[in-house]
Assembly symmetry: C2
Homo-oligomer: 605 residues x 2
């Protein structure tokens, strides 16, 4: 692999010399700013070989570097071995920013390229400003430097689109569009360009299979005060979907025509979310804004669709509960099966990280309306549990042993809902360190579950509840504590999060959010415990409306690693209540053996 990468760097540098470029930047984004990138746009992986979900590669004429965050430090180190790429660890003291590094490597006055189509308007504008500070380095955005060197580049995906029935969506597309237009009015905008694929799928009540784990389809949606136009490869639409779109008042145009659509947009102003819309399309409108003949004005605001989508309606909530019930049943069957193996692992079939993932996925697939996994399973055993976004491959896969902790973070796409759950499971005897981190993580998880808060609080305020007990021990984790979850949509849904960084999105009733603190001790062990929660009303007083969390996830939490003396009485009480809920909800759907196993797993502490 290292050889292939170095050959590609050689090819790239030939292009760079021809174009007089001092450096090329390859982000991990695509024209739709999605989390999972269709292969066609995996330019950063093509050029660097690093396949993590987040990272930026920069290539100069004489050097190459890759920036990624703590989740991927270990994986990136592995994958970059033997290549020219130097690993740059984000958020670690001493790591230069990308513009700083380019400034040092390339010197003042250099020209650097990034493909404006695969970067958000905001990030490119920031990059331009930051590069300018490095002695006036300029940025070229109208070139895809890989176009000339990427042999056998995968095409843009073109899978068929399907209608998402109203009995799951709970609100018709034309009603959603009416609400969006109302929200746009409040932001003083006549229309908007939507490029986030999950926002488009949610708005139109359509789903697809263009993107790994995300049931979305590649397209743009342009809303004006009169028209709605879906820019999509028309071959993806059956006559039924065509008729449906027409009935909902949505016109269709070719995917490539989105630029033309923006040029033909003749209203006073248009909302472009600079974090969502890519720089090239943003610039198409901006040039009109400054043009003489047109007077369209850009309203730069967060897309109102993001927040609308995160607040689930009653139908969606009922469907969510149903999907979670099925997911809990599959998880219980899996955990019982794993317990059997633990009882006599030397005699039983050998298990590995990959084989248990296969088993769990098979059990989920037996459940009604199962469609897919919702993200790549993280099954990390022993020291692999300390690799935050570990994905077992045939090369890294290791056999389970009857000791230590197994971290299992997984989820499914059911037609009626998306699930996301992490359990850390003791496979046998544990060290004191393993017990301690497991208990601290569980305490953090429960402190979030117990939180009551004023409607409109932000996830940044609440995040510390999961960390405060760890911090007293000098422990921490560098990822967020939770994210929204879509309705048969993306498992990561914004803009609200629990996070140390500022996330202004207010938490309101009807939102889903995960609660997933962890502790990772590199080379030793890791633990994470995650439920998906629903935000529901708590009480109303003279100080306003207060909200609380209801766990949607229904699955026992392993009690064997708990250090009881570390638990507060309210934390023990919560765990007992939660286990009672799990037993009450799941047991009617289980056979006698499973029921007996669950009763034991849910017994009071």
């Amino acid at each position: 692999m290292a050889e292939t990468i170095n050959k590609r760097l050689e090819d790239l540098r030939e292009v760079m010399r021809r174009e007089h470029l001092a450096a090329c930047i390859f982000p991990s984004t695509d024209p739709h700013q999605g989390e999972y990138i269709p292969d066609h746009w995996k330019g950063r992986e093509f050029i660097s070989g690093f396949n993590g979900s987040s990272g930026t590669a920069v290539v100069t004429l004489q050097s190459a570097a890759l920036w990624t965050d703590s989740r991927y430090f270990i994986a990136a180190e592995e994958q970059l071995k033997g290549t020219e790429f130097q690993l740059m660890k984000l958020k670690i003291e001493g790591t230069p920013t990308i513009p700083e590094w380019i400034g040092k490597e390339c010197g003042a006055g250099a020209e650097v390229a990034v493909d404006g189509m695969v970067n958000s308007a905001y990030s490119v504008k920031e990059l331009i400003a930051d590069l300018r500070k490095q002695g006036g380095i300029t940025l070229r955005t109208n070139l895809d430097p890989l176009a000339q060197i990427w042999q056998n580049r995968p095409p843009i995906p073109d899978h068929p689109v399907e209608i998402y029935p109203l009995k799951y969506a709970g609100e018709a597309a034309h009603d959603k569009i009416t609400r969006i237009r109302l929200a746009l009015r409040k932001l003083h905008a006549d229309g908007m360009l939507m490029s986030a694929l999950d926002d488009i799928a949610w708005t139109l009540n359509l789903r697809g299979t263009d993107v790994h784990c995300n049931p979305v389809f590649v397209s743009y949606l342009l809303i004006s005060s009169k028209d709605v136009t879906l820019f999509i490869n028309k071959e993806k639409l059956s006559p039924e979907v065509f008729a449906y779109l027409k009935a909902e008042g949505v016109g269709v145009d070719a995917y490539e025509n989105v630029k033309k659509g923006l040029k033909d947009y003749f209203e006073y102003n248009i909302l472009l979310d600079p974090d969502e819309v890519n720089y090239t399309l943003y610039e198409v409108v901006r040039r009109q804004e400054s043009g003489v003949r047109s007077k369209v004005e850009i309203v730069e605001e967060e897309s109102p669709v993001k927040r609308m989508k995160t607040v689930k309606n009653e139908t969606e909530i009922a469907c969510f509960r149903n999907a979670m019930l099925k997911d809990g049943i599959a998880m219980v069957k899996f955990l019982k099966w794993l317990d059997l193996w633990k009882e006599d692992s030397s005699a039983a079939e050998p298990l590995t990280e990959i084989s248990i993932d296969r088993k769990l996925t098979a059990l989920r697939a037996e459940q009604p309306l199962y469609r897919d996994i919702s993200f790549d399973t993280i099954a990390g055993y022993g020291e692999h549990a300390a690799i935050v976004h570990y994905e077992a491959t045939p090369e890294t896969d290791i056999p389970l042993q009857p000791k230590g902790l197994l971290l299992l973070d997984s989820g499914a796409q059911y037609l009626d809902g998306t699930t996301d759950i992490t359990r850390t499971i003791a496979l046998g005897p544990l060290t004191d360190e393993e017990k301690k981190i497991y208990t601290l993580v569980l305490k953090g998880h429960i402190q979030i579950e117990l939180c009551k808060f004023p409607s409109g609080s932000s996830g940044t305020q609440i995040d510390i509840l999961a960390r405060k007990d760890m911090w007293r021990e000098g422990l921490n984790y560098l990822h967020g504590t939770g994210h929204g979850v879509g309705t048969y949509l993306n498992v990561h849904e914004g803009p609200h999060q629990f996070r140390m960084e500022w996330k202004p999105a207010p938490l309101v009733a009807g939102m889903t959010i995960t609660d997933e603190p962890g502790i990772y001790l590199p080379g030793r062990c890791g633990a994470r415990t995650e439920n998906t929660l629903l935000i529901v009303p708590y009480r109303e007083t003279e100080f306003g409306r207060f909200l609380q969390f209801e766990p949607l996830t229904l699955c026992p939490i392993d009690k064997t690693p708990i250090v009881l003396e570390m638990m507060a009485p309210e934390e023990i009480a919560w765990l007992n209540d939660y286990h009672q809920l799990v037993f009450d909800r799941l047991s009617p759907h289980l056979d006698d053996d499973e029921k007996a196993w669950l009763q034991e797993a849910c017994a009071k502490l």
Copy 2:
């Protein structure tokens, strides 16, 4: 008073008609964006009669309204009675923003005035944008509408300036200036304009008495890569101060010459903190920026002086501890005296909110290096304790009775440090509600004191620890939980705070911060408990440096209102440890009677 106000409105409207203005806006700020406003700039109070520290008055040709926050709802209601002014409650659902209200009252195309000198560049730019959205209302900023109608307007204060000795400041002015220039370099700026009076006082190691409670002096400071110029009324400077400034490399020019100073600034760029510098001065530079002959560029960043000033050096910390010791002695003498009164209040002299304030101030004034109070004492008894920023006046003053809670928030300016402390004191029997809110507030206070956190965390993350137990009871408070405290400087020092709103300033070792949760039940009672804390190292692990809080304030916390069953074991342990510390530190400085009283007050729970 109401008559006077209505007459002033009449005069103002005459000016408005002459100038073709549909509305005038009067903020509570001054050219230096200070918290305490010299009388000369109290335009909002002049026009509305409302004297709270925060509020904005707007007058149209036919209506008038005043916006203020929850701290002042009750006080403002009182003070606006009988005037045309309508009270607009900030952060309460349904309250229009100022631009929205002006839009409705004045209609599209109107012209509105605000004095650009007494508003920050940021707030005026935001106002311009928001008014534009209201059907294109425009803003005029080059007019002080009061200039023509304010008879006997108080002059700009001109008290003498004094040198703040190095034995208290710990770092010479020229060394601070060197550090500031270094920080400016990192922000790619050649110089800066300082207009915050406490920043100027800190930088130059000078103090003054121009502003109520704040030992500062009215001036501007312009730093370039070569020169430092203090713009100040020269009559305020003694020959000794003149000589000192010269020795520190600081030139002097007249206060009015600051605009000329900015026009004569001939470097490539200048840092202007848009939250600090007023709009008029900002525009002086901006017009040069867009001018043909000059190329000065504005660097819009937070002034680096703000953060530098908040991190205390070792001398300042030692002085702080000394000031807190003296303040604790005064508080103990006061509390013992109040206890004596409680023992037989019917026979003793009658006490009122004002008289106890007088007593406390007298006890503080006996301490060495005492200079002033650090803010207007809040002595609120009974239902007055529910008025967050209550200041007793002869009209509102009420006698204390041997029951209920007295909230006492006060502080002093000593030459070696500034103090800020709140104690809520049971004067006799309490209701269950009083005990409950007192205990919840104390729990919140202690949870902050107990917090350990990664260096660089923000106050927004930590704030919830003071609130989480209240929130479970549907209770809350709408002010921040804490703020920085200056070194013989302003009692409110930014930019770091504990607050529900986003405060990005990282908390680092050496900062002071108050910890002052409260609960206020209007018409019933209120409680707040406040210590000033110092941020100090906790431990360093593989997850980085962790910090903790050390209480600087040394004064017992009333134990009689505590509902013991509501307290967690760690909270009781903290209180016992804190009381031990208070006793150990203060008792050597007390007489036998006082010592005996303190021993009792500090006895273990």
